[in-house]
Amino acid sequence: MNIRQYLPAAVFLGALVAVQLVISLTGAAFYFTQITMSFYYTIVVIGLCLLMGYAGQISLGHAGFFSIGAYMQAMLTTHDFSSIIHSSWDEVFKNVSQIFGTVEWYELIPEKIGAILGIPVKLFVGLGDIFGMFVPGTDGFGNGILSYAPSAALFISLLTAIGIACLIGLPVLRLKGHYLAMATLGFGIIISTIVFGTKLFGEADGISRVPAFHLVGPLSINGGMADRTVNYYIAGIILFIVLIVSMHIVASRVGRALRAIHGNEQAAGSLGINAMRYKLGVFVLSALFAAIAGVFLVHYNGSIGTSETSVLKSVRYVSIVAAGGMDSIWGVVAMSMGLNFVSLRGYFGSFDEIFFALILVVTMLFLPRGLFRKEYLEVVIKKTRRLTRRMVLKRKLEKKGIVFANKKKDDEK
């Protein structure tokens, strides 16, 4: 990376401050909410940009990874774990099996698994107490509950997402093209179905009352009116870090390997690039980005609903990446911020999903390389420069008394 590559990053930080100042000065602070949410969605899109634009592997299941992060975080920070803490392992298994369905599969597990491991539940929890893993709170009815601290939940949520991405990625990434799209689409539907059918995840109601995520000092991620500006900056900085990480990956030899795999997997192999390892790596990384976005956004919104798991959300991410230019991170970021903001403000009304589908179709038909491309910008600059030069020349000549014959008049003659 040289200094020129950092320029867009500096511009990003500058724009972050400039937008904040403009909004604060004009007193339209309500815009912060949508911009902050757009920041988080953009993190998902950047991960997908690495996967699709650079490595050339499509995923129609990224709403799934977003949901894994968001739902795990919401569940862990709102569910009451106090009864589990004080029960035996046997009861824990019983409860877990009840959560996930009617089949009493816990009976299949050796009864004495806890004893075999030699770890009583209390000790497990005791460790949790030492590290401050559990914090007291209240549920919707004012009853006291004991649930995971957001920071502990963060690790569990992200690890879950990474684990599932590895499990899914290994078999699925052997597929190519349409088949990969279909397989990831199926994954998205599975996640959506699990969420809809699981009591723990609130079924169709989603999960609400997600507490604030206290970072350091007075900084906390929450949707409160007073913290709007702070949260705008927190989200902006998280996005910024993700951006820097992604840019470094793209510019490194790993980035080159990804593009080589995109170009031709067999040729990449003949150069000693282990295609499967890199494909899996970037798949897991993009899933991790999506989960990070989910984790933080759920704290910001304070709740999560089933619409986030919908397949159409995945389609939306894909269409943003396509419209932004696939392998141009900054184009994708600009496109994501613009489209997400407009969509969240509700300008598309009830045609929201149709609009994103339309964008995908139009992009594929007319702008297969995306809207924000250097080449297009160069053409525009060249054209305007030529036009202004011609105007200036014309004016100069007119001053000297030379008037150009109009082309139309020539034709009439």
């Binding site: 030899r253 080159r256 390997a257 593009r259 080589a260 995109h262 170009g263 031709n264 067999q266 040729a267 990449a268 192999g269 003949s270 150069l271 000693g272 690039i273 282990n274």
Partner: protein, 244 residues
């Protein structure tokens, strides 16, 4: 350097190579010629580790390559220039070259890689001119040069080339072959697979003729050039007598 013994290989259940033995010595150019479908590319892909052999052994530098993955084989110094060039068309010429040195990632390698890139530019001056161009916009001959240069970037001991003359102007083919013999002078071994037998035999020390998965003739360049059957089938000699 490379010893292939009784190699049997193919795709799924289809056996293409039916027991092929080929030897490439140190600092030697060996060519395998043969018609379409003889198994020439299959042979190279098996040696490169892209295909798994059914039977037989491949020994490189006195080590059995059986347990080596494709990446390991590149690391060991046995690299393939695939058929039809396969350059990364959306990457620039320079990025293609850098990818060739993918497995060389040590701390002191950066300047060495840069030096090697310069060396490739001196071997193929046209690549320097096209340095920042997308590889997909190069002509066929230039792409072939790039593919060879890219393979050389891993500093191989053995370069395997699959039909480098395919679809390229004859004058460029001669130029490429001249560069290959030059590289041999510097200590490179080459296994060259070709349909263009005349061109291949012009630079090779020895050659094998592969037909339907079996070696039918082998010998030194002179022997092959004088062999009546080879001459008629691959070098276009004696055709007038057949017509009559």
């Amino acid at each position: 350097m490379l010893t292939i013994r009784n190699l049997q290989s193919g795709y799924h259940k289809l056996r293409v190579l039916k027991g092929v033995s080929v030897h490439v010595g140190e600092n030697e150019i060996v060519t395998v010629i043969g018609p379409n479908g003889a198994g020439k590319s299959t042979l190279l892909m098996t040696v490169a580790g892209i295909l798994k052999p059914f039977a037989g052994t491949v020994t490189f530098d006195n080590t059995d390559l059986e347990s080596f993955s494709a990446e390991k084989r590149v690391e060991a110094g046995c690299v393939l220039v695939p058929e039809g060039r396969r350059v990364f068309s959306t990457l620039t010429v320079k990025e293609n070259l850098e990818l060739g040195a993918f497995l060389r990632s040590g701390k002191n390698e950066k300047s060495a890689i840069q030096q090697d890139i310069e060396r490739m530019y001196s071997l193929f001056p046209v690549l320097q001119k096209r340095m920042k161009q997308m590889a997909g916009t190069l002509s066929g001959g230039e792409q072939q040069m790039l593919a060879i240069a890219r393979a050389l970037m891993s500093r191989p001991k053995l370069l395997m080339m699959d039909e480098p003359s395919m679809g390229i102007a004859p004058i460029i083919v001669s130029q490429i072959f001249k560069t290959i013999s030059m590289l041999r002078e510097e200590g490179l071994s080459v296994l060259l697979v070709e349909q263009n037998a005349k061109k291949a035999l012009s630079i090779a020390d020895r050659g094998y003729v592969l037909e339907t998965g079996q070696i039918v003739v082998s010998g030194s360049r002179e022997e092959l050039l004088e062999n009546h059957d080879v001459g008629r089938a691959y070098l276009g000699k004696d055709y007038s007598t057949i017509d009559e």
